[in-house]
Symmetry: C2
Subunit: 250 residues, 2 copies
């Protein structure tokens, strides 16, 4: 059993691209268009390095170039696209080294979030969410084997756990940066991390310990546990990339 790395530590799922039926909950076309293009890229509709022509996108999406340009600029600032003046936007090409590096960064940021959460404490609501997530995870793992539905369920549990800690850090910039790390597409869904029962169980145990440390306001332990927790996912990713060490960069 294995799943994409993205689920290993929790991540929102994209939806389809050119569905004109899009509910368009977004308050403005620019934002809506950005969401749709982002989802399209993350679902692999464009080759890495492909140019994104403003007119074609605007025709395909049924809007003018203006909101498309705005959306492209947003996506570039998110790191999903590259921009060259007078030469437009293209899908950013991620080297495997960049994907691994994103986990290095995320390791530092998530461990900081855990430390800050421990230092600053949790609200009642946050405690409730985490305890719910831990209980749900316990339930899923009570069975000795994981089905597809369990993996999806655990992904949600996992996301709730981490997301709540980000919130508990009371530091918006930190959450934003972690989001940027998560938005690095995992090499077009090609890189998978080992997702065996024991791996999940171990990560879930980590969650329990991290929560304990935060509750006890043990900032140092919370930081170190979270650091190891995320770093282990990186290690698994590196290993799965093909058993050999992360290849030289550039």
């Amino acid at each position: 059993m294995s799943e994409t790395v993205s689920d290993a530590l929790g991540e929102p799922a994209p939806d389809s691209f050119a569905d004109g039926m899009d509910a368009e909950r977004a308050p403005t076309r620019s934002l809506s268009v950005a969401d749709r293009i982002r989802a399209s890229i993350l679902s692999g509709d464009f080759e890495p390095g492909a140019r994104l022509h403003e007119v074609r996108l605007s025709e395909r999406l049924g809007v003018s170039r203006t909101p498309v340009r705005s959306a492209l600029q947003s996506l570039a600032s998110e790191g999903l696209l590259e921009y060259a003046p007078n030469r437009g936007y293209s899908v950013r090409r991620f080297l495997t080294s960049e994907i691994v590096d994103a986990y290095e960064i995320r390791t530092m940021l998530e461990s900081l979030a855990a430390r800050l959460a421990a230092e600053r404490g949790l609200t009642d609501a946050e405690r409730a969410v985490i305890e719910g997530a831990l209980a749900d995870g316990d339930a899923i793992l009570a069975k000795a084997e994981l089905e597809e539905a369990d993996r999806i369920g655990y992904g949600a549990v996992n996301f709730a756990f981490h997301d709540t800690i980000h919130a508990a850090s009371r530091c918006r910039m930190l959450g934003d940066m972690i989001r940027m790390c998560q938005s690095v597409p995992q090499s077009s869904h090609r890189n998978v991390v080992s997702f065996e029962y024991l791996e999940v169980r171990r990560r879930h145990e980590d969650h329990h310990r991290i929560y304990d440390a935060i509750l006890l306001r043990d900032a140092y332990r919370a930081e170190m546990l979270m650091r190891e927790h995320v770093a282990s996912v990186k290690t698994g990713l590196v290993r799965s990339i093909s058993g050999r060490a992360p290849r030289s960069r550039r």
Copy 2:
């Protein structure tokens, strides 16, 4: 003797706002306008929370609303402005806690950069730059007292040192994120950090040790030294904010 925190670890200096004489080296109006508005904000031309009206800016800058809108969006993604759909952009208000938090984040990121630099090694050019910066710093500190020019000179030395390590991390996202931390305006140049001779000397000694660790490929030591190096600046900032502990948040 003291200087703004921004110089304590190196940061580019902004230039004036509406100087139409602006060389406009930027390849496009949008980028040029973004630079000018950014400089204007960082130099304190706008109150925190102030709305930025597109038409007024476009008139003041002598361009149409289109590049202004593009520039505002860029600045918002940099974290300098806040955006609300249909309600425009306003200068982001930074709580002192957010400024301190930015240093917390930067501590983690810079220490990671130092570790990666140690793991991955320096190019000849990078070694040369750092050794030059260290030598220049030695020269400045040979005198037992610092004049204004020395402080400016040391700021440049300091910037070169850190910037080269960021580059040596071979991790673009890391550099980008550190830049975001640096772009948090230090509470309108009001927060200053102790900048006495001994403080600078100590930081310069840190630089020497960090460089040694990187040269020796001692990743752990490089990380820890850099962590303490940046954290000490944060501590100084917190102390200078008024001698009392960082006040409770929210």
